[in-house]
């Protein structure tokens, strides 16, 4: 009798622990979404500034300005892509639908299109995005 009464109590305790752990995981995932979205937003702002040539480093640093300008344009787009993929991936997982190919393609296009003004930026961003996606699929088993 006493054994019977103990078992449900243990199950209940385990259930509470699991719920707490799930809550903790969800809360952690939510915090990750917030952080990565903020970072994605920051890099989107940087991308708007640099890829629209609102600021050009070539004006400040004459010799390496144009090269550095090019690198910053590409890096901001790539970082935007990385953080948005992390954010959307976690968001989708939290609502119960894992990130699919369509979502990834949308972020890919929205990232790539930011470099449309400059064919060099567009080309290297394309290569960078492909490398990141390859990494996500092959290494991380996305």
């Amino acid at each position: 009798m006493s054994t019977k009464s103990k078992l449900p109590a243990k199950k209940k305790k385990n259930k509470i622990n699991t719920t707490k752990r799930n809550n903790f995981n969800e809360l952690h995932a939510y915090k990750t979404i917030i952080k990565s979205t903020i970072l994605g937003g920051i890099f989107l702002v940087f991308s708007i500034i640099f890829n629209n040539s609102l600021i050009s480093l070539a004006l400040f640093i004459e010799s390496i300005g144009s090269f550095l300008d090019l690198v910053i344009k590409i890096i901001t787009i790539l970082l935007f892509f990385i953080f948005m993929v992390i954010s959307i991936g976690n968001y989708k997982e939290l609502i119960g639908n894992p990130m699919n190919f369509k979502d990834l393609l949308l972020v890919f296009i929205l990232s790539l299109i930011q470099g449309f003004r400059n064919p060099i930026v567009l080309g290297f961003t394309f290569i960078g995005l492909l490398i990141i996606i390859f990494y996500l699929y092959a290494v991380q088993e996305f």
């Binding site: 969800e26 939510y30 994605g40 144009s66 690198v71 890096i75 968001y91 930011q114 490398i131």
Partner: protein, 268 residues
């Protein structure tokens, strides 16, 4: 670990860019400035070249395998009618008679292409005796790889040696087709490749020793900018594309804020 991999990817991309981007960097946009005196002297007190774009480039023997380049300081600027170059470098051997026939030439391409056959215009400041400071400025056009002196000489050039430091100054006419049909027509808002050449024998092209190529986009006079349709389209696309991305981003942020309200467990 993930961050480590992301950093590795970014470094890889950076290396990739630095490997290939040097070959096709954006054209140089010369600033507008006052007209300098073409006398082979950079008047530092008069701040003659202060409004120019200054850079250091290297002249190489073989552009496809650049090594041991000669560093030169290069100033570039323009006004509404002319493009100005100043080139300065130091050579310890300048006092030697080996450099009596030193020259700096500028080959001008018909476009931003750097193919040999596209360089059809050549301006050169040729020393005839560097120790006495005698030189000539010449304007050639290139016909089937032959350097032919232009009937109408265009532009100006001057050079001066001070100690081991030598300065060359060039002035090249813009928008010049009617007056100088043998020259490359340098039109506003177009980009052209300029090959800067150093040599010490007065033979062209046999005397070409070191060189490098820069691409310059000729700027339109600032007072009368034309309405460029492509630029207008770029601005419209900018607004549309970045506007769309911003709207989607804000919708996503709104969804995230709603998510917190939906999942009430978070409040526990």
């Amino acid at each position: 670990m993930v961050l480590y991999h992301v950093i590795l990817i970014l470094i890889f991309n950076f290396v990739l860019i630095s490997t290939f981007a040097n070959g096709f960097t954006e054209p140089i946009q010369p600033p507008f400035g006052t007209m300098p005196t073409i006398d082979g002297e950079i008047d530092e007190n008069g701040k003659e070249w202060d409004d120019a774009l200054k850079m250091r480039i290297f002249l190489y023997q073989n552009l496809s395998a650049p090594e041991n380049g000669l560093p030169i300081d290069l100033w570039i600027k323009q006004n509404d009618a002319k493009l100005f170059f100043a080139i300065q470098f130091e050579l310890e051997q300048h006092s030697s008679s080996e450099f009596d026939y030193e020259f700096i030439g500028i080959l001008i391409s018909e476009s931003e292409s750097n193919k040999t056959e596209d360089f059809t215009d050549f301006r050169v400041i040729q020393f005839t005796n560097i120790s006495t400071g005698q030189y000539n400025y010449r304007d050639y056009h290139i016909n089937n790889f032959l350097y032919v002196l232009d009937v109408n000489q265009s532009g100006e050039g001057a050079a001066k040696l001070k100690g081991d430091i030598i300065t060359y100054e060039f002035s090249i006419n813009l928008d010049n087709y009617e007056d100088y049909p043998e020259d490359v027509f340098l039109d506003y808002l177009n980009s052209y490749a300029f090959k800067i050449i150093f040599g010490k024998i007065n033979q062209y092209p046999a005397g070409f020793l070191l060189s490098n190529i820069i691409v310059i986009k000729i700027q339109y006079p600032p007072l009368n900018p034309p309405i460029v349709l492509t630029e207008l389209l770029f601005i419209i696309f900018d607004i549309l594309i970045f506007g769309l991305i911003c709207v989607l981003f804000l919708v996503y942020v709104y969804k995230i804020s709603k998510l917190k309200l939906k999942i009430k467990r978070f409040k526990v």
